[in-house]
């Protein structure tokens, strides 16, 4: 690259070297395009108005080898890669300052970037960050670029607080979240803020479109509203500044808004709309039909709204589903309380979520229905208690979360008042009614799976009667399940051998890996069983599980189970399982049983106790 237009080689430009570096410094990759969602084909340069003493300034920019290098650096600096403006450290010279204010660059703004931020639920992420900050901050223009989550904040003290939060927050895979904070020019919506006269006009226009009795705002095709067009006000809702202005007016003038119609506004992303959750939280009806939304994922940005009615037809996303029910269920995942979609009534939802404005982690699995859940819970309990009753409880390590908690309580104040049967539990009993010593309170709450399993191993050996348990599933959210198990168990050794105790054990669990559930909280309450309970327990297993979904056995099948049990020595439920697994082919079941038994694969508790 040579300088064509004038003879002197670039070397002669050394004196002008200063200005080249200035150019460099002021380079910033900044999206002027309506928002942040697409990297522009070239980065915006704001060196156009630099005052240069050199007469050759134009040529310098275009023809010198250095300017080519600039382009390369610019590409490196583009949003395709992690953007770190490291070269802003020097105090800019006078000239630059002048130019900077011309461009609206104020040293006050900082851009915060979270790599892979797209993985996290926005409210969880922002709340987590906020909770690590000593003072509240206001994020501006939160948006996603590829995998990154970005937003802007305004002052240096907040910036340094946020820098410190980096690597302090753990996500649900126990990875620390990294936060980059860099100087930045003002965010798009601030830089391109609507003028007060424009805001006033927009407000008047919106007022005209507001239906007071229904608390509904109709903003369809807003850009082409005659009032706005007549005054040359371009309200393109895809642009952050326009959306921000609109939401600001809603927040100030229609905070109790119930219904919002954004039909036909060419919306292809909902980053800007997501602020509506704070500005108009009561919105129950949202019309996004006839826009350009390409994926249902975009809706996640507004899922903080407790929508009852949603319109999406006419968006490209609608044709991405294999069928109507896949479409409906994907939308319902986002808005569990939805009653109507595209004008059609939906059947009653099965799962009730906890208030979604809470801090919620993104869900890893979708519990699709209460039948699945029941099955999951039962399977888990069977696995859990088979190890619990086996004599070696170490196997339970896989059932607990690293940070799980366990405690147990018995209904007695003092050791002497406790009946013999419960004495052994007294030591571990963490009954808040009677326990005044705060140290003990802390001690007896077993924390970490190691401690828990150790303390469980110290409890007396048991045999639980799983056929007579009653399971209550009383809380289900996307990420956790709470359920209580009521039942009885027998002491199988020691002084109180044979005595039957009743228990209620409450678990809070998340999806697990080696066990189907991973216990986070485990609270056990043990008491003497009533005579009624003792009698009905450990007898012929009639399934009283509130969550039983198995078909009842025919007469013939019941007889087979009895016979098989007598012959094999296995308990009835095990015999039944063996027969079921072998499609009620008695001979084959017998063969399978014999084979497994010789291989030693059948656990001891499958067999009836010799009375």
């Amino acid at each position: 690259a040579e300088c064509h237009d004038h003879g002197s080689p670039f070397q002669g430009r050394k004196k002008g070297g200063n200005s080249f570096r200035d150019n460099f410094d002021k380079r910033n990759c900044y999206h002027e395009h309506g928002g942040y969602e697409r990297p522009p084909s070239h980065c915006q340069e704001n060196d156009g108005s630099v005052e240069m003493r050199d007469v050759h300034k134009d040529q310098q920019l275009r023809h010198t080898p250095y300017s080519i290098r600039c382009d390369r650096r610019m590409k490196w600096h583009s949003e395709d890669e992690i953007c770190i403006t490291t070269w802003r450290k020097r105090k800019p010279p006078e000239r630059k300052m002048r130019q900077n204010t011309q461009d609206g660059y104020t040293r006050n703004w900082f851009k915060v970037t979270i790599p892979n931020g797209i993985k996290y639920d926005k409210s969880w992420l922002m709340n987590s960050i906020q909770s690590h900050c000593s003072a509240p901050f206001t994020p501006v223009d939160f948006h996603y670029i590829q995998n990154r989550a970005c937003f802007f904040i305004q002052d240096a003290s907040t910036a340094s607080v946020l820098k410190d939060v980096s690597y302090k927050i753990c996500d649900d895979e126990n990875r620390k979240i990294c936060i980059f904070v860099n100087h930045s020019t003002a965010p798009y919506s601030v830089k391109n803020k609507l003028k007060p006269s424009q805001m006033e006009m927009l407000k008047l226009t919106m007022n005209k479109r507001y239906n007071v009795s229904q608390q509904a705002l109709d903003l369809q095709n807003l850009r082409f509203d005659p009032d706005l067009m007549g005054r040359d006000i371009d309200i393109i809702l895809n642009r952050r500044n326009c959306m921000a202005a609109t939401l600001k007016i809603i927040e100030r003038n229609f905070p109790e808004l119930l219904s919002l119609n954004l039909c036909n506004n060419k919306l292809y992303q909902l980053d800007g709309l997501s602020d509506i959750i704070e500005k108009a939280p009561k919105v129950k009806t949202l019309n996004l039909s006839k826009n350009k939304l390409e994926s249902a994922w975009e809706l996640g940005k507004v899922k903080g709204l407790k929508l009852e009615e949603l319109w999406l037809e006419g968006n490209p996303l609608c044709s991405t589903f294999s069928d109507q029910s896949a479409y409906v269920s994907a939308i319902r995942d986002c808005f569990p309380k939805l009653l109507r979609l595209d004008g059609r009534e939906l059947s009653a939802p099965m799962i009730v979520d906890i208030d979604s404005s809470e801090i919620m982690k993104p869900c890893k699995e979708n519990f699709t229905g209460s039948e699945t859940l029941k099955h999951l819970v039962l399977q888990f309990l069977q696995q859990y208690y088979s190890i619990y009753d086996s004599g070696d409880r170490q196997g339970l390590l896989g059932a607990y979360h690293d940070e799980a908690c366990f405690s147990l309580a018995i209904p007695f104040d003092a050791e002497d008042s406790a009946p013999n049967s419960l004495r052994k539990y007294f030591e571990d009993s963490r009954n808040m009614k009677t326990l005044k010593d705060p140290y003990l309170k802390g001690e007896l709450l077993r924390h970490t799976k190691r401690d828990i399993v150790d303390s469980l191993s110290a409890l007396p050996k048991t045999q639980h009667d799983l056929s007579s348990i009653l399971v209550d599933m009383w809380c289900q959210t996307k990420w956790m399940l709470c359920f209580s198990v009521n039942g009885v168990f027998k002491e199988v050794e020691g002084q109180s051998q044979g005595s039957v105790l009743a228990f209620t054990r409450t678990f809070i669990a998340t999806p697990g890996s080696s066990f189907s559930l991973c216990i986070v909280n485990d609270e056990l309450f043990v008491r003497d069983a009533s005579p009624q309970e003792t009698q009905s327990a450990f007898s012929i297993p009639v399934s009283t599980l509130s969550s039983s979904s198995e078909p009842s056995l025919s007469q013939e099948q019941q007889e087979m189970v009895q016979a098989f049990s007598a012959q094999s020595g296995m308990k009835l439920e095990w015999s039944q399982k063996c027969l079921q697994d072998n499609e009620w082919n008695y001979t084959r079941a017998g063969q399978v049983f014999t084979m497994l038994q010789t291989e030693g694969k059948i656990p001891a508790e499958a067999f009836k106790q010799i009375s």
């Binding site: 808040m432 009653l470 009383w474 709470c482 309450f525 309970e533």
Partner: protein, 108 residues
């Protein structure tokens, strides 16, 4: 203390129980589910026993994820077992889920 407050409300004026529940609360009473603040308060207000003689003999609680507390209360004389999941929202404790079982009816 929350529990005492709760049971006191239960005795004195059940309509005020709405204060400790939120819209998304869910009560499981003897296996039946009641969703939402209104349904919960309605169910609790409609219970036949006027005043419960409490002799709570056991109480235990644990912290759970997301700054909630799970609490368990047992009264073997009245024969009930009550679990609460409590959450601290804007400096007030609310009950997001609870489950109630009359112990004697376990195997009935």
């Amino acid at each position: 203390s929350f529990i005492q407050h709760c049971y006191q409300l239960f005795d004195k004026d059940r309509t005020q129980l709405g204060a400790i529940y939120i819209d998304a609360s869910c009560l499981t009473w003897e296996g039946q589910q009641f969703q939402g603040k209104a349904a919960t308060v309605e169910k609790l207000s409609s219970l036949p026993f006027q005043k419960i003689q409490y002799s709570l003999t056991a109480q235990d609680h644990q912290p759970t994820p997301h700054s909630c507390i799970i609490s368990m209360v047992v009264d073997p004389i009245m024969g009930f077992h009550h679990m609460f999941l409590l959450k601290n929202t804007s400096d007030a404790w609310v009950c997001t889920n609870d489950a109630f079982r009359l112990a004697l009816h376990n195997f009935g």
